[in-house]
């Protein structure tokens, strides 16, 4: 793989990327080589991104490592068309739910899902399946037909397709959460002694647990059962919330906290981060070898000292069609082999009596 001489304007190196994802780990040099190759590609093929880079004085000649690649703020996915391939020719577009700025949604175009799916498979197998080939899954989220632009809907449906055992099913439909259905599935799993996996959005778990608590029911799922929740941290910024949440999961479903996995993913990325359970919160998150993260001062973009809080920047090589490197709004702190996710950096509260942006937006909504 000759990545030191990126050919500007060349087609996306999808084959090399798939091979890169398939290999066992990578060296720093290999990661940089692929990152620079993709940067050159995106710089050449993506006009808004090129202008963004010009504003930062970053060109393929000057960028020497993945750390030098200008990080595009996630708002850029709302305001700019960040796609190397014309969007009309792309097979899929994933969109954010658009909660912070009304109806303006961030969009991530995928020419096809080969790389996205490959990125998902190996990582999910290692971090969630942990050697198990298939497991019966209950999905607390709508399916892809209902939400064709949701990356999470695709994630969960693809999980069922690739790793779900017979009897796997979605329990959120047009009528909302099917409490009776999921209760029946949980009871049946409890009787059968076969491991069961419950996966979905964190808020769906909260809703389900409220309903079960109201009905006085709880379960002892068989050994090997596991839980995956995602997306709940934006509203839960305090450790005590994590504690209560994972305690409640363990209590309600009989799944020990170390088998309750939280997935951290974003529409703007094509890869996911996982922790190794939530016996201790906040848990350390880490990703596969094709994604790297750093923690920065959001203003200067400079990296913060290890152990200091900063804003997460991710360089995801699987994001070959939009931009590899994004500046999130998530606060984290570095830990050996990963980072702690501390929640979203809420807009600063008004310190004086001048109107704060958040209050203004709320009033305008």
């Amino acid at each position: 793989m000759d990545a030191s001489q990126p050919a500007a304007g060349a087609a996306a190196p999808v084959e090399s990327l798939l091979a890169f994802i398939a290999q066992e780990g990578c060296s720093d040099e290999e990661f940089d080589a692929m990152a620079l190759r993709l940067f050159a590609h995106q710089h050449a093929r993506n006009e808004p991104f090129r202008r963004f880079c010009q504003g930062r004085g970053a060109t393929p000649r000057q960028v020497r490592s993945w750390r030098d690649i200008p990080a595009v703020p996630i708002n850029g996915f709302k305001d700019l068309t960040l796609s190397c391939q014309p969007p009309a020719t792309c097979e899929r577009v994933f969109m954010t739910s658009g909660t912070t700025r009304g109806d303006v949604k961030g969009r991530n175009w995928h020419p096809d899902l080969a790389v996205w799916n490959a990125s998902f498979r190996g990582n999910f197998a290692r971090r969630f399946m942990r050697g198990e080939r298939r497991i019966r899954m209950g999905i607390l989220f709508p399916d892809e037909a209902a939400m064709p632009n949701s990356s999470l809907a695709h994630y969960l449906q693809y999980a069922v397709q690739e790793f779900g055992a017979a009897g796997s099913a979605h329990y959120v439909g047009a009528k909302g959460l099917d409490i009776a259905g999921v209760t029946e599935a949980l009871a049946q799993a409890e009787r059968s002694g076969e491991p069961f996996a419950l996966l979905g959005a964190s808020y769906s778990f909260v809703h389900l647990m409220d309903e079960l608590a109201a009905g006085g029911s709880s379960f002892r799922l068989p050994p090997g059962s596991r839980i995956l929740d995602t997306g709940g941290y934006k509203k839960q910024s305090r450790d005590v919330d994590f504690e209560a949440f994972y305690d409640a999961l363990a209590r309600t479903f009989g799944v020990p906290r170390q088998r309750c996995i939280n997935m951290y993913g974003m529409t703007e990325l094509s890869s996911q981060f996982y922790d190794d359970g939530n016996a201790v919160v906040p848990s350390r998150k880490s990703g596969p070898h094709w994604i790297r993260s750093r923690l920065v001062d959001p203003l200067t973009g400079g990296e913060v000292a290890k152990g200091e809080r900063g804003i997460l920047v991710h360089c995801d090589l699987a994001n070959y069609n939009s931009v590899t490197t994004i500046l999130t709004e998530d606060v984290g702190v570095e830990r050996d082999g990963g980072f702690l996710l501390l929640g979203r950096a809420e807009g600063a509260q008004a310190k004086g009596c001048s109107l704060a942006v958040e209050e203004f937006l709320k009033a305008a909504a």
Partner: protein
């Protein structure tokens, strides 16, 4: 220098060891300051309310307004004296607590405090009462009979924010209408109000029990509830949400005076945009931006600049940028918390993305500058920036065009800074007043309201009082019962 510690609050009748204290810490390292704030039980709060109400009746209500003005003037004179221990305490701790530059705090305090000297306080009273003596005794009413203004027997103040000394506004209002006052300090600046109470007690010891300064943790309904049940009038400052939380705790009979967060802006007419006046106006605008880092309700977040002058709006933005760069040397911006940095970064990002998406937009000030000017060639709606010296400059063909851009936000309007010729000033003032603006100031004075201003367009003193009237009928009837009355026996 090791970290220092100071006690906040003013609790007449309560010894320090009778109450619990909560430590608030500000800053890090050797400059760190710990401020201990009192945490009262509901019972203590009720007792305090009773004591303050009683003392106000016995002491404050027997003074004339002129007596009170003299006392406040003497206390403010001490705060204006650089050698005074209270002044030194304020200068020592307020920069550390608020994070504002020490020199900015010093100058800001002086310019604010001088609006509370005796002549200004007399003016303040005269603004709301044509005959200030109505605050002391019954005065003849124009329609006949007599009238007297009574302040609340217990006035509760809920302050917000960290702009130093701001509680002095409502404290002075309370004193002038002879109300017993209990003020709740914000966690962001818990020191000044207690310091002022201490000064007043030193200047006029009988006043010591006429006011109290307390604190409670946000969301602690028990201490707050105890005070709100006792007060007959409640003043609250803060976000709409915070103010609404206070409102929900009040009995329906309690008079409630909310002061929500506001959004300031400026307008620069082509008359002010020649080669001499434009740089001067930009310098004044920069001062308004830098003063308290745009945290004031009167602070500007956007300047609408008219096209057609000798100096184009874009050049004005550049002058403003240059002045902000200058002021950074004189008044460096405080160190930013991660959340503030993220807010600025977010604001910068949107400004930057606008420059990529559309022509005519520009972001002045690099990522390492402690200020930023976002310039737009086309109309932009009024919106808050991330403060901390982030300012928008928007070109408009005519300043009248800007009125429509601010009008949708009427509920958040207060101060507009205007640089225009006299005829235009009055014309624009008419339009802006109709749109919701309540205060029009010179650019450069936006952040220093003059004595006697009507905060948010309200009558700050008149809103606090009850007018008690003796009708002519009562007066006439009384005549009949006078010992000297001549019964008409005919």
């Amino acid at each position: 220098m090791s970290a220092s510690r100071v006690i906040a609050g003013w609790l007449p009748g309560l010894a320090d060891d009778e109450v619990q204290w909560h430590a608030l810490t500000f800053g890090t390292g050797p400059g760190q300051v710990q401020v201990d704030v009192p945490v009262l039980t509901p019972g203590q709060m009720r007792a305090l309310a009773g004591r303050v109400r009683q003392s106000a009746r016995e002491v404050l209500q027997r003074l004339t307004v002129s007596d009170i003005i003299e006392i406040v003037d003497a206390a403010v004179a001490r705060l204006l004296d650089p050698a005074d221990p209270c002044r030194r305490e304020a200068e020592r701790f307020l920069p550390a607590i608020t994070g504002y530059d020490a020199e900015m705090v010093r100058l800001g305090l002086a310019s604010f405090l001088k609006t509370f000297r005796a002549p200004q306080l007399h003016r303040f009273v005269a603004e709301d009462f044509a005959n200030p003596k109505v605050l002391d005794e019954f005065q003849p009413a124009a329609k006949g009979g007599a009238v007297r203004a009574f302040g609340p027997s217990l006035l509760a103040h809920v302050w917000a924010g960290n702009v130093p000394a701001l509680p002095l506004w409502s404290l002075a209002c309370g004193l002038l209408v002879k109300a017993g006052s209990i003020g709740k300090v914000p966690s962001a600046e818990p020191l000044f109000a207690g310091l002022f109470a201490r000064l007043l007690a030193q200047v006029h010891p009988p006043l010591a029990d006429c006011l109290a300064i307390v604190w409670w943790k946000g969301g602690d309904a028990s201490a707050a509830g105890a005070l709100f049940a006792e007060a007959d009038t409640v003043l609250a400052y803060g976000s709409n949400h915070a103010v609404d939380q206070v409102r929900l705790q009040l009995p329906v009979t309690t008079r409630f005076l909310p002061y929500g967060h506001k959004l300031g802006f400026g307008m620069v007419s082509r008359a002010a945009l020649d080669t001499q006046r434009a740089p001067a106006t930009a310098r004044l605008a920069a001062h308004d931006v830098v003063r308290y880092e745009q945290q004031g309700c009167y602070s500007p977040h956007l300047f609408y600049v008219e096209r057609g002058g000798r100096v184009a709006p874009r050049e004005f933005a550049q002058y403003l940028a240059a002045e902000l760069a200058n002021l950074q040397r004189r008044f460096p911006r405080r160190a930013l918390a991660l959340e503030d940095a993220q807010a600025i970064a977010g604001w910068r990002q949107s400004a930057e993305l606008r420059t990529l998406a559309a022509g005519g937009a520009e972001l002045l000030g690099g990522a390492d500058a402690a200020w930023a000017v976002s310039y737009s060639d086309g109309p932009q709606p009024l919106a808050p920036t991330a403060a901390n010296r982030c300012i928008q400059v928007v070109a408009v063909d005519r300043l009248d065009d800007a009125v429509a851009l601010v009008e949708p936000h009427a509920a958040f309007l207060q101060t507009a800074g205007i640089a225009a010729d006299p005829a235009e000033l009055f014309r624009l003032a008419g339009l802006l007043g109709g749109a919701g603006v309540t205060r029009i100031a010179a650019i450069g004075s936006m952040t220093a309201p003059e004595a006697g201003w009507h905060h948010d367009g309200r009558f700050n003193l008149a809103d606090l009082v009850r007018m008690v009237e003796i009708e002519q009928s009562a007066e006439r009837a009384a005549e009949r019962f006078a010992p000297y009355a001549q019964e008409d026996l005919g």
